[in-house]
């Protein structure tokens, strides 16, 4: 594995290997000294062209837990962004001596361009509405911890699927691990022409609630999607939100996931967010472990793929 850019063609065995590694790193993170020297002397750089504190910190924590050094570059907030192209920025950062680059960018495909220009491994930290593979791995880890495996599970991904890179990444990863996925949302938020996608679709959340094992709620994105794609937030919450009533209709073992940050009261009710069966905080800690597994694999692990 030279880069991790997408889950779309990531073989099942690679995902499973990363999850096994990630379990080891969960144990490392629970130690009194949550640190191992595996990547000592390596430098991991994050280049985040979209504002993001959570994902960037998660990658930095993962790198540091492996004893790597980190460099963080946010052109969105730095004067370097003026007139300096993505390519120039990537080459400049690389010239400072990095061993791996994490790239998040608002344009689909940007990490692929960076991977073309650099000879170090590139990890896609999120590109446009396209892919966010490390989030998918972290979520697969969370579900695996809860259910043992994804094989045969029924997972609903609910919300603004059209503009969600988390939805796409997760759909492919869940499917690869044997789950059956249903994409749920208002018609304006489901993608057009999805024949051939490894998922069913539905515009009626209530119809499938009592059959699913995992409800994966997507954040209502007001900064993407170019304006009003559905009438109002209260209407969204009413038809697609995980209200207390809907939560009550879920199977007793079913769980709720959310990539964060949550809009409490919109896609998820307050009480539901704090319930034991809402695994949001676990997703966050698993995010660090999953990213450790990815960094370890790319910078010195067993070459599975």
């Amino acid at each position: 594995m030279n880069d991790l850019l997408t889950t779309e063609d990531l073989p099942r065995q690679v995902i499973e290997k990363l999850l096994v590694d990630a379990e080891s790193f969960v144990e490392v993170l629970s130690r009194p000294i949550p640190k191992v020297p595996a990547l000592r002397g390596k430098t991991v750089a994050t280049m985040f062209f979209e504002p993001s504190t959570r994902t960037r910190l998660s990658f930095e924590k993962a790198a540091k837990a492996l004893s790597a050094d980190t460099m963080s570059f946010s052109p969105a907030t730095s004067s370097l962004s003026k007139g300096e192209s993505l390519k120039d920025t990537a080459l400049t950062v690389h010239a400072m001596g990095v061993d791996l680059m994490v790239v998040r960018h608002g344009s689909t495909g940007a990490p692929w361009r960076v991977a073309e220009w650099l000879d170090v491994p590139v990890v896609n930290g999120g590109d446009g509405a396209h892919q966010h593979p490390t989030q998918a791995l972290a979520d697969c880890l969370t579900i695996t911890q809860r259910f043992g495996s994804l094989e045969g599970l029924r997972i609903a991904i609910v919300g603004d699927v059209r503009h969600s890179r988390v939805a796409r990444s997760n759909m492919y990863a869940f499917h690869s691990l044997g789950a059956s996925v249903t994409l749920v949302g208002p018609p304006t938020l489901l993608p057009v022409e999805i024949d051939g996608w490894p998922a069913n679709t539905s515009t009626d959340l209530d119809a499938i609630l009592d059959e699913v094992d995992v409800v994966y709620l997507l954040r209502v994105q007001t900064e993407r999607g170019g304006g009003s794609v559905f009438p109002s937030l209260p209407e969204y919450a009413d038809r697609y939100g995980m209200t207390g009533a809907r939560f009550g209709r879920l199977k007793p073992e079913a769980v709720v996931l959310h990539p964060g940050p949550m809009n409490r009261g919109v896609e998820i009710a307050h009480d539901v967010a704090d319930d034991e069966r809402s695994l949001v905080l676990l997703q966050v800690s698993n995010g660090v472990a999953a990213r450790m597994a990815v960094l370890f694999e790319l910078l010195g692990g067993d070459q599975v793929a």
């Binding site: 490392v28 595996a38 070459q303």
Partner: protein, 205 residues
């Protein structure tokens, strides 16, 4: 032939070869220990551990994955027989502590399961083959992050020589001098098809 031993051996020889999993390069395999031999040395080592440490109260047994763990489990079973009480082995993964990640990009990581606090205890590490000593050095680093044992001892099935670090085993099943182009394969029924120890002559790449 496991990937572990082959690549462990390979990394430290001047003759480098790749072992793609499932595709072993050795052409001649000679068996040097069979199942009975393995059983005998395991029992002997168990006795030695109990004797040397004046009992098992302060002993924590940790196997180094992959094949150090089944060895540790068998020692633990033998110790349970001796003392009539259930004694279990934990595991200590060293994949994250290796110092040779750059030249040997095949570090596997396995589970770390420490059954009790290590502070003040005597940790007995168990591994299948002692070769350059780098695995044990990594294990010592890992132990340092996990607690403060009062002593660390080492039990191995085979000591094949060629140490690169000042490390020695306290309990050895068998000393077998080898050349660098040979590799030693310890197999355990359960993860392999049978018990025993084989030595193979590997082809250079």
């Amino acid at each position: 032939m496991s990937v572990d031993e082959t690549s462990r051996a390979a990394a430290h020889t001047s003759v480098r070869f790749r072992c793609i999993s499932g595709d072993s390069k050795e052409t001649i395999l000679r068996q040097v220990m069979d199942s009975d031999d393995l059983g005998r040395v395991t029992k002997r080592i168990a006795h030695e551990i109990a004797e040397r440490n004046h009992g098992l109260d302060e002993v924590v047994l940790l196997g180094i994955p992959t094949r150090g763990k089944p060895f540790a489990d068998r020692i633990a079973a033998a110790l349970s027989d001796i003392h009539g009480a259930g004694f279990t082995a934990g595991s200590l993964d060293v994949g994250m502590y290796r110092d040779d990640i750059d030249i040997r990009p095949r570090a596997r990581i396995g589970p770390t399961d420490i059954p009790e606090l290590l502070d003040g205890k005597t940790v007995v590490l168990a591994d299948d083959v002692l070769f350059t000593g780098r695995t044990i050095r990594a294990a010592l680093d890992a132990l340092a992050d996990l607690g403060r044992p009062s002593a660390v001892q080492l039990a191995v099935v085979i000591d094949r020589g060629h140490r690169e670090l000042p490390i020695r085993a306290d309990y050895v099943g068998k000393n077998i001098p080898t050349s660098l182009t040979e590799h030693v394969s310890v197999r355990f029924l359960g993860i392999d098809d049978e018990d025993g120890v084989w030595i193979g002559q590997s082809e250079p790449a």
